[in-house]
């Protein structure tokens, strides 16, 4: 078992990130996509904190991750509001149907 150094954290963060991306790419449910976003943000957060711990980034990394957490919360709120409005207007939550901007 290798020691839990920076690479190990980056590995975990990478998994989270990729899972979030794949989640965004595969879920047709708007809320599912939103969850993928959260995963991605989470992976990034983990990176920041890991860098804060292992590199001269120091406290800055933690501060940024705090901001990310807060912004993610705000984003989630907005996204949910949009999702709900979408749902209200289209009576569906399938984002594949949300293609009015195409033309």
């Amino acid at each position: 078992m290798p020691p839990a150094d920076l690479n190990a954290y980056l590995f975990i963060a990478g998994v989270l990130f990729v899972c979030g991306v794949v989640c965004m790419a595969t879920k047709r449910n708007a809320v599912g996509v939103l969850m993928g976003v959260e995963l991605v943000l989470n992976g990034a957060n983990l990176n920041f904190v890991a860098f804060a711990r292992f590199t001269p980034l120091g406290l800055d990394g933690q501060v940024i991750s705090l901001f990310v957490i807060v912004l993610a919360a705000a984003e989630a709120a907005i996204a949910l509001a949009i999702a709900l409005n979408f749902y209200n207007n289209h009576l569906t939550i399938d984002i594949d149907r949300a293609d009015e901007l195409k033309q």
Partner: protein, 824 residues
């Protein structure tokens, strides 16, 4: 005395200049006659006759004055007679003795003649003893020739081209002959051309869309051209340098052109005029080459010496030959040493030289001009065609004077000719006389017979000159001028009387209608045939007309020449046979025209004798034709002429390198004279007899002979096919080359040019295409590609959120892969 000589020269030159310029003044007035006077006015003719008549008087005056001043030394064969003067009677022992006495004195050096007065500086050889050393000559003796300058045309450094005059006895005789013949012909022409005295002349030979051509008469124009011709001819005779000869040479040519083409409406006339001029130009081309050679090597054109600032500038003759008429060759014999008057021995500069072959070339070149002008083989074809002109023109220009100018120049330029050139001249003359005589036998147009006879007689003259008979050739020139102009005028009278019928087969028996014409013509015929009554020719004067004497002299010289140079025997036989033929065709002409029965009753009925203005000149000329050469080679005319004979001619030439030709001396000729004269007379009499048998007595039908020799007849009728030959050899090739040149311009040069232009346009097109296709195309392509990419990318704009995510990811991966590829 020099002052006397000066004065003599000035007087002579003044008289001859007046005689020369008067016709020019006449021309200037007459040319506008058609505008100033009416068409009926004969004023132009009177002016012309007055001018030329005065000129004649001036010439005679000059001749007489000259004779008077020189005490007629030239006419006294016993006075200082050189052996060259062939005037002695046969077996004249005194002459032989004098010859023996004179001979040792020949070896004189060339004499500076500078002390002869300026501007008159003659060759300075006293009359009668001209071949003697000048230093021994009596101081008061008049010089043999006079020369001077009218004005300078141009000078370049030491080179100088001027209008000069040169007067010797030849000039004087020529002047008198030309002005006399011209005066008579002018008179004759008043009658002959009288049908031009109208506002509405009908030319029957020209057919237009509206019938025969009607035009205003051109009486004064005719006389204007005659006057201009007289001026040019006299200028040619008076010329003091060969350049000036060339100038007037061309001027008589152009006068001839105008006169031949007098009936401008006739195509044949204008063709003949063109032919005459162009053929003459061919000869002049040779003349020009000769001029160039002389100019380059001699640096002067003058015949006589010239004194400038006390320095003698030798003329052509004195540069080439010394006082005895000898050339000085270099040791190798390849070059000829020239005497430019400066003292070469003093070592100031080397004497100029000329390569011998170039001297020959120069002589041939000058002679080529003479060939053209005198209608010698191979340029003889223009003269018969020149008969398109009015008959007085034929008489004056194309028999008596202009065509004789070639002979005159050959005589004048005699010292410049090397033996080779003389041989060429002789052969050309020989060929010409035979060729023309044969054609004359079959010709039926009365004027054409005379034309061919003219060519033939000119051939005689050339032959005479070429075989060393300087005096003989020029003698024949003078006598021929009289009898040939007589015959032409007589034929003109016939034509006038027969209303412009020229074909002899339509004539016959005319002597009853026009006795004066017939009689005078007979005089001419006998003269040209060279008939004489042998029996009474033992002492003193022979009973013979002029032609006998002159032809006799030529035949004698030719015979002697053939004796000396055995290989050139033809030069004797040809003129001998030619004499027979001449006699034959001339009598044929007379019989056909005047004797027998009328063959065309219509012509005969309307024929009439010409008015007195035409018959008087005939009678006068017949007198001259008969008696001008009285005394033959002891006669005054011959003596006058030979007074100007170049030094050395009389001695003949012993065959030596480089030419290896011998020329007969006068003595040798004289020895042969009686024999040759007998031969010639027998042959001529034979010819006359045959003609009499054929045409006079009608014992043989000429038509049968003609049929028997049909191919020969055709050959002769077609004039030996020369016209066709020249047409094929020269005229057509020239036109073809001309077409080539023109086409070359059109297709090659312009083609290249147009090619370049098209190339430029093409490049411009390419440029435009480059602009439109490449530059604009690139911009458009960018736009189009952008647009196309946009359209393509729009397809990616699916509006599907999840695909966008995929794109981002794929994009990131793609970028990373690319970066990795290029980073590694």
């Amino acid at each position: 005395m020099p002052s006397d000589a000066t004065q003599l020269g000035q007087t002579l030159s003044t008289l001859l200049t007046i005689a020369w310029l008067l016709p020019l003044a006449g021309f200037a007035i007459e040319i506008f006659g058609g505008f100033w006077g009416t068409r009926q006015s004969k004023a132009a003719a009177y002016i012309a006759v007055a001018c030329i008549g005065t000129a004649f008087l001036c010439s005679v005056g000059a001749l007489l004055y000259w004779g008077d001043q020189t005490d007629w030394a030239a006419l006294q064969p016993h006075h200082g007679s050189g052996h060259g003067e062939a005037g002695q009677a046969e077996g004249d022992a005194r002459a032989a003795a004098e010859h023996a006495a004179a001979h040792p004195s020949h070896a004189g050096e060339e004499v500076d003649v500078a002390d002869h007065a300026q501007p008159v500086s003659g060759a300075g050889i006293p009359a009668g003893a001209w071949e003697h050393n000048l230093a021994n000559a009596p101081e008061h003796a008049a010089p043999k020739s006079f020369s001077g300058t009218f004005y300078v045309l141009a000078g370049f450094g030491s080179l100088r081209v001027a209008i000069d005059w040169y007067i010797d006895s030849l000039t004087l005789v020529m002047f008198t002959m030309v002005t006399l013949v011209a005066s008579l012909i002018h008179l004759f022409a008043i009658g002959y051309m009288s049908d031009e005295l109208t506002d509405d002349h009908e030319d029957h030979q020209v057919q237009t869309a509206h019938g025969h051509l009607h035009r205003p008469g051109r009486f004064s124009r005719f006389f204007a051209f005659l006057s201009l011709f007289s001026f040019s001819m006299l200028g040619l005779v008076l010329a003091g340098n060969v350049f000036m000869v060339f100038v007037f040479w061309e001027l008589v040519g152009v006068c001839s052109y105008f006169l031949i083409g007098f009936y401008v409406e006739r195509k044949s006339a204008s063709n003949a005029a063109n032919k005459a001029f162009i053929m003459n130009r061919v000869g002049d081309f040779g003349f020009l080459i000769g001029l160039m050679i002389l100019w380059t090597y001699f640096g002067t054109f003058q015949f006589a010496n010239r004194v400038e600032d006390g320095v003698v500038m030798p003329g052509l003759f004195d540069m080439l030959r010394d006082g005895d008429g000898n050339m000085h060759l270099s040791d190798s014999g390849a070059t000829v040493l020239l005497d430019d008057g400066s003292d070469a021995a003093a070592g100031i500069h080397e004497a100029p030289t000329i390569p011998y072959f170039l001297l020959v070339a120069a002589g041939l070149g000058i002679f080529a001009g003479c060939v053209g002008k005198s209608a010698q083989f191979p340029l003889q074809t223009w003269l018969p065609d020149a008969m398109e002109g009015p008959t007085p023109v034929s008489a004056l220009v194309h028999s008596a004077t202009m065509v004789a100018a070639g002979v005159y120049l050959t005589g004048r330029f005699y010292p410049m000719f090397t033996p080779e050139v003389l041989l060429t001249i002789a052969y050309i003359g020989c060929i010409t006389l035979f060729l023309a005589a044969t054609i004359a036998v079959v010709a039926t147009d009365i004027k054409r017979v005379l034309a061919y006879s003219t060519i033939s007689q000119l051939g005689y003259m050339m032959l005479g000159l070429g075989v060393g008979g300087w005096g003989a050739g020029l003698f024949h020139l003078i006598t021929h001028a009289f009898f040939k102009s007589l015959m032409f005028l007589a034929s003109g009278s016939v034509i006038y009387g027969c209303h412009h019928v020229q074909e002899m087969p339509r004539m016959g028996g005319l002597w009853r209608k026009m006795p004066i014409t017939a009689f005078t013509m007979l005089v001419g015929v006998i003269a040209i045939a060279g008939l004489a009554i042998p029996g009474i020719s033992i002492f003193g004067e022979k009973i013979a007309f002029s032609g006998y004497h002159s032809k006799d002299a030529i035949v004698a010289t030719a015979m002697t020449f053939a004796d000396l140079n055995r290989t050139h025997f033809l030069l004797f036989y040809a003129p001998l046979i030619g004499a027979g033929i001449t006699s034959f065709y001339m009598f044929r002409l007379w019989f056909l025209t005047f004797a027998g029965k009328p063959r065309d009753q219509h012509v005969y009925d309307h024929a009439h004798e010409s008015p007195r203005v035409m018959t008087v000149p005939l009678i006068v000329l017949s007198m001259f034709a008969a008696f001008v050469a009285v005394g033959g080679e002891e006669g005054k005319l011959f003596l006058l002429l030979t007074n100007s004979e170049p030094a050395g001619v009389a001695n003949g030439l012993v065959a030596s390198s480089p030419s290896n030709l011998a020329l007969p001396s006068h003595e040798a000729v004289h020895a042969r004279h009686a024999l040759a004269g007998t031969f010639a007379l027998v042959v001529a009499a034979l010819g006359a007899l045959v003609a009499c048998v054929f045409y006079g007595l009608r014992l043989v039908n000429p038509a049968e002979v003609q049929r028997q020799f049909a191919s020969l007849h055709t050959f002769l009728i077609e004039k030996w096919w020369f016209d066709e030959l020249y047409d094929m050899m020269f005229v057509r090739p020239v036109h073809v080359v001309a077409k080539w040149c023109s086409a070359c311009d059109k297709y090659v040069f312009d083609g290249i040019l147009h090619g370049l232009a098209k190339g430029t346009v093409l490049v411009a097109h390419w440029d435009r295409m480059f602009d439109e296709q490449i530059v604009d195309g690139l911009v458009n392509w960018v736009g189009r590609v952008t647009y196309g990419t946009g359209s393509l990318l729009r397809l990616l704009q699916t509006g599907r959120l999840r695909q966008y995510v995929m794109f981002i990811v794929v994009g990131v991966v793609g970028i990373w892969v690319i970066v990795q590829i290029f980073a590694s």
